[in-house]
Symmetry: C2
Subunit: 681 residues, 2 copies
Amino acid sequence: MLWSYLSLVVAFIAMCVAAYFYKWVQNLPVAEGKIAGIGQLVRNGAFTFLKREYRILAVFVSIAAVVILLVYPSPIWQSENPLSNVIAVAAYISGSLLSALAGYIGISIATIANVRSASAAKQGLAPAYMAGFRGGAVMGMAVVSTALAGAALLHILTDDPNMVIAFSFGASSLALFAKAGGGIFTKTADIAADLIGKVELGIPEDDPRNPAVIADNVGDNVGDVAGMGADLFDSQIASIAAALVVAAPLGQIEVIFCFGALGLLASIIGVLFARVGKDGDPGKALNGGTLLTCGIYLVLTFIATMLSKGSINIRVWGATILGMAVGVIIGFTSDFFTGDDKKPVEKVAEACKSGPAFTILSGFSYGLVSILPSIIGIGVAALGAYKLCEPLGPGYPMFGISIAAIGMLSIVGMIISNDAYGPIVDNARGLAEMGGLGDDVLETTDKLDAAGNTAKAITKGFAIGAAGLTVIALLGAFQEIVESVTGEIISFNLMDPLVFFGTLVGAAIPAVFSAMLMLGVNRNSQKMVEEIHRQFDTIEGLKEGKEGVMPEYDKCIDIATIGSIKELIPAGLTTIIITLVVGFIGGVRAVGGFLAGNIVTGLFLALLMSNAGGLWDNAKKYIEAGHFGGKGSDAHKAAVIGDTVGDPFKDTAGPSINTQITVVSLVASIAASLFALFSLF
Amino acid sequence: MLWSYLSLVVAFIAMCVAAYFYKWVQNLPVAEGKIAGIGQLVRNGAFTFLKREYRILAVFVSIAAVVILLVYPSPIWQSENPLSNVIAVAAYISGSLLSALAGYIGISIATIANVRSASAAKQGLAPAYMAGFRGGAVMGMAVVSTALAGAALLHILTDDPNMVIAFSFGASSLALFAKAGGGIFTKTADIAADLIGKVELGIPEDDPRNPAVIADNVGDNVGDVAGMGADLFDSQIASIAAALVVAAPLGQIEVIFCFGALGLLASIIGVLFARVGKDGDPGKALNGGTLLTCGIYLVLTFIATMLSKGSINIRVWGATILGMAVGVIIGFTSDFFTGDDKKPVEKVAEACKSGPAFTILSGFSYGLVSILPSIIGIGVAALGAYKLCEPLGPGYPMFGISIAAIGMLSIVGMIISNDAYGPIVDNARGLAEMGGLGDDVLETTDKLDAAGNTAKAITKGFAIGAAGLTVIALLGAFQEIVESVTGEIISFNLMDPLVFFGTLVGAAIPAVFSAMLMLGVNRNSQKMVEEIHRQFDTIEGLKEGKEGVMPEYDKCIDIATIGSIKELIPAGLTTIIITLVVGFIGGVRAVGGFLAGNIVTGLFLALLMSNAGGLWDNAKKYIEAGHFGGKGSDAHKAAVIGDTVGDPFKDTAGPSINTQITVVSLVASIAASLFALFSLF
C-alpha cells in the first residue's frame, strides 16, 4: 500500500501549496477607491447563491443517501454485511461534501484574487497575471488533492472499490447540479447584461449603471469557478473509481495511486514554475505550463515504472502516456477550431458580413467538423490502450483504458489552475471597469482575459476527452459490477434488441438535458431583461449615470439565483430517472447500451457546443480587433448574435454534459444489483 | 412465388394509375399570359441541372460498377461463380438507372403540374389542390411501383438476395448524390433570393425582377421533388433488400412481397380517393389520405394473413403493423414540434421578440427535445418487433424488425404523393406571383402551400423513422452476410474495443457530412448574392421593374448548378471512403460498431435538423400571420434569420442524412467479404 500512503503525502504537499498561494494572494494590496466595495458585492452575491444552492442540494443528497443505504453495494435486506451499506453512505456523503467544499474554496479564492489581480494590473501584466494564476492554482491544488486524498483514504480504510464508486457518485451528483445551476446563473446574467448594455443602450461591458453587471460577475464565479471545479473534481474521482473497480481483480491498485500521485506532483511543480515575463505572452505561459507538466509526468512515471521492478508493466505506462498525449491533441484540436489566429474563426468572422444566419450556419458547421478529430482521438486512445495491455492477460485491456483515463487526467491540477485563471481575470476586468481604474489597466486585463479564453479552449477539450475515456472505463466498471452481482459473464451485443433499444434512448438523453438547460437560460434571461427595463424606467437618473444613483443589483442576483435553482433540479432529475426507468424495464443489458449511446452523443454534443460556442466568441473578438468592419459594423452585430447563441452552448449546456454522462454511468453502477434483480425484460 | 408475381401485377396497376394521372394533369388548361413561358424556364432549368448532375454521376456509377464486378458478392478471383458478379453489376446499374428515372419522371410531372395548379387556382381551391396532388401522386406511384417491380423481378430471375442488395446500392448511391446535390442547389437559390429580395430590397417573394427567382423555383423541383423521390425510392428498396437477406434462410421471402404489394395497393386506393371539398382544408385531406391508407393496409394485410393458412404468422403481421403505427406516431410527433398551431412554434415565435439569438436558441432547444419521442418510437418498434417474433425461432427476431421497416414504408406511395405535392404547389405560388395571376389566386395557392408544409413535417418524420428501422435491419443483413462469408458467428459487443472504436468514428460521420453540405450552401449562396448584386448594378431599369427588362436568370441557375455539383461529390465520397478505411483497419466488428454509431447520431441529427428547421419556418409564418408584431416587426426580422438557418438544416443536411446512413450500411454489406479478408486488426 506504499503508493496509497504516498498519495496522501503528495496530496498534503499540494494542500500546503494551495494554502501558501491563498495567503500569498490574500496579502496582495488592493487598489484604493470603489473596487474593494464592488468586489465585496460580487463575493456576497456568490456566497448567497452558493448557500441557497447547497441548501436545496442537501435535500437531494439526504434522499440519495437513504436510497444508497437501502440498496448499495447490495440490497440491505439481502446483505450479509449491512455495515458496508452504512460505509457506502458515509463515502457518498463525504464525496458530496468535498465537492461542495471545492466549490466553496474556489469561490472564496476567486473573489479575493479578482480584486487583487485588477489592482496589480496597475503595476503591469506580470503581477496581475500572477495574482490570477495563483488564485486559480489554489483551486487546482485544492480540488485534486482532496480528490486523491479522499480516494486513497477510502481505499486504505475499506479496501473496497465499491466504496470509491459511492464516493464518486457523491461528488458527481453534486457536480451535476452545481454545474447546471452555475451554468444557468452565469449565462442568464451574461446574456441579459449584454442585451441591454451592449445592444440596447450601447454602454460598455461592465458599466456600473447596468443593474445586471454584478450578477454577471457573480456568474463568472459560480458558473466557471465553482461549477468547473466540481466538474473536474468529479471527473478525477470517477476516473480513479472506475480504474479501482477494474484493477481490483488484477491486484493492480497501487499503479493507480502511483500515477495519480505523480500526476499531482507534476502539477505542483508545473504550477510553482509557471510565470510570465514582464511583457511576455500570458497565453503562452499558460500553455507552456501545461506542456511542462505533461513532460514532468512522462519522466516521473517512466522512472517509477523502471524502479518498480516489473510491478508496473511498461505497457501500462504506455497506456497512461497514450491517454495524456491524446488529451493534449484533443486540446490543441479545440484550439485550432476556436483560436482567433486560425482559419475557422476567420471564416466565421467573414461569414458575419453576410448576416447573422451565416454566422450561425458556418459556426455550427465548423463545430460539427470539430467533432471528428477529437472523437477519433478518444477512440484511438481507448483502442490503443486496450491493444497495448491485451498481452498482459484477461481483464488488462479494460484496465489499460482506465489507466489511459488516469493519464489524461494526470495533469488535471494544472488544467484546473489554468481554467480557474480565466474567470478570475475576466472578473478583474469587470472590477477595473466598474472601479474606474483607467484605460491602461483595462488594456492589461483585456490581454489577460484573452489568454484565459485561449487556455479555456484547450482545457475544455481536455475535460471532454478525459470524461470520454473515464466513462468508457466506467462502462467497464459497470460490466464488472454486474458480473460480480449476477455471477454471469455479460456482453453488450449491439444485435441484442435490448442493448440497441438502450443505445437509442441513451443517445437522446444529452439532447434533452442540454435543451432543458438552454431553455432555462432563455426563460431566466428574459425575466432579467424585464427587471432591468423596470429599473431603468423607475430609478431616476440611472440611465444618465447621475452621481450617487445606484441600480438595485441584488434584484438581478435574486432572479438569477432563484431561476437557476428552479431549473437545475428537473434537468438533473430527468436524466437520473430515465436511467432508472431504462434499467427497470430493459435490465442490465439495456443499461449497457444506454450508457454507450449516452457516451457517444454526449461527447458529440459536448464537443459541438463547446467548440461552436468558442468559435463564435472568438469570431466576435476577431471582428472587434478591427477586421471586416470592426466594432459597430453590421458584421459585428451578426457576430454578437452568434456569440449570444454560443454562450449557453459553451458555458451552460456543453460542459454540463460531461457531468451528465458521468452521473448516469455512476447511477447505473450503483443501481446495477437492483436492475439485475428487478427488470421487466 | 405467388406474391412475387402479384407484386408485379400491383406494380403494373400503379404504373397505369401514374400514367393516367400524368395525362390527366397534362390535359388541364394553362392560364393565358406569361405563366406558360415562366413555367418553361423553370422546366428547362431543372432538366439542365439534372442532365449535368447525371453526367457526373454516370462516372461515379461506372467506377463503382467496376469495383462491384471485382468484389461482389465475392472477390471474382476466388469466386466459383463469376457470373454472379456480372449479374450484381447489372443489378447495381439497374438500381441507379431506375433511381435516375424516378428523379426524371418527378421533375417532368412537377414542372407540368405546377403551371396547371396555378392556373386551376383561378377556379378555386379544390381544382388547384387536385392538380398538385395528382401531380405528386404520379411521382408516388412511379417510384414505389418501379422499386417493388425491380426487387420482385430480380428475385424471380436470380433468387439471390445479394443481387437485391446490389440493386439497392445502385439506388442509394445515386440518391446520396441526388439528395445532397439537389439540397445544395435548392437552398443556395432560396437563401440568396430571400436575402436580396426580402431583406435587402423589400420586394415580395417570387418577384420576377429578382435574378434568383427562377433558380429558386428550379431548386424546389430538383431538391424537393427529384431528391426526395430518390431518397424514398432508396429507403423502400433498402428495406426490401434488408428483409430479403434476413428472410432467405427462414423461407419467408413471400411475406415481404405480400406486404409490399398490399402496401402499394393501399396507397393506390388512398391516392384515388383523396380529394378536398370546395372550401375544405387541404391539410386535412392530405393527412386524412395518409390515415386512410394505413387503415386499408391494416385490413388487407390482416385478411392476407388469415387466408395464408399459417404461412404468414400473426406475429409477423403484428410486427408490420407495429412498424406502421410507430411511423404514424413519429410523423405526428414531428407535427407537434413543427405545427404552427402548437406550443413549440408559439414559444419560438415569442422568443423572436427578444432577438435572433433567442430565436436560434429556443428553436434549437425544441429541436433537441423532439429527438426523444421519435427515437424512443424507433427503439420501441425495433424492440417490440423483435420480441413479437422471438417465439418463432432463431433468425425470426431480426426478420421481425425488417418486417416492421416494411410496415413503416408500406404506405410510402401515399407519403411520396403528399410530399411531392408540397414543392408543386410551392412552385404554383411562385408562378402565380411571377405570372401576375392576381391576389385571389395567390391566397388560394398560399393555403395550398401551408398545407404542404404541414404534410411535409409528417412525411419527413415518417421518412426518418423508416430509414431508422431500415438501417437497423441492414445491420442485421450485414451480420448475416459476414457470417455467411466467414462461416463464423459474429457479435458486435460494445466492450470489444474495435466495436467501440467503430461506434465513435461512425458517430462523427453524419456531423462531418452535414457540415460539408451546409458549408457548401454557405459558399454558393454567397456567390449567388454577388451575382445578383452585379445584375442589379449593371442591368439598367431592372431594379425599377422597367417594362421589357429581364434579369439574366440563367446565370443564377448556372451558379447553383455548378456549385452544387462541385460540393456533392466530396461530401458523398468522404462518407464512403471513411467506411472503407474503418473496415480495412478494424475489420468487420469495427464496421458493425461503425454502422450502429452512424445510425444513432444520424437519426439524432436528422431529427434535430428537420424539426428545428420546420419549427423556425413555421414560427416565421406564425408571426407573418399577425402575431407578435407581424410582418416587418423586429420579431419578424429575427424569425427570418431563424428561417434562413433552418433552410439548409431541414432541406439540405437533415434529409440527406437518411440517405447517408443507408449508403454507408450498403457499402458495408457490399464490402463485407473484403473486410473479412483484409483488415489490419
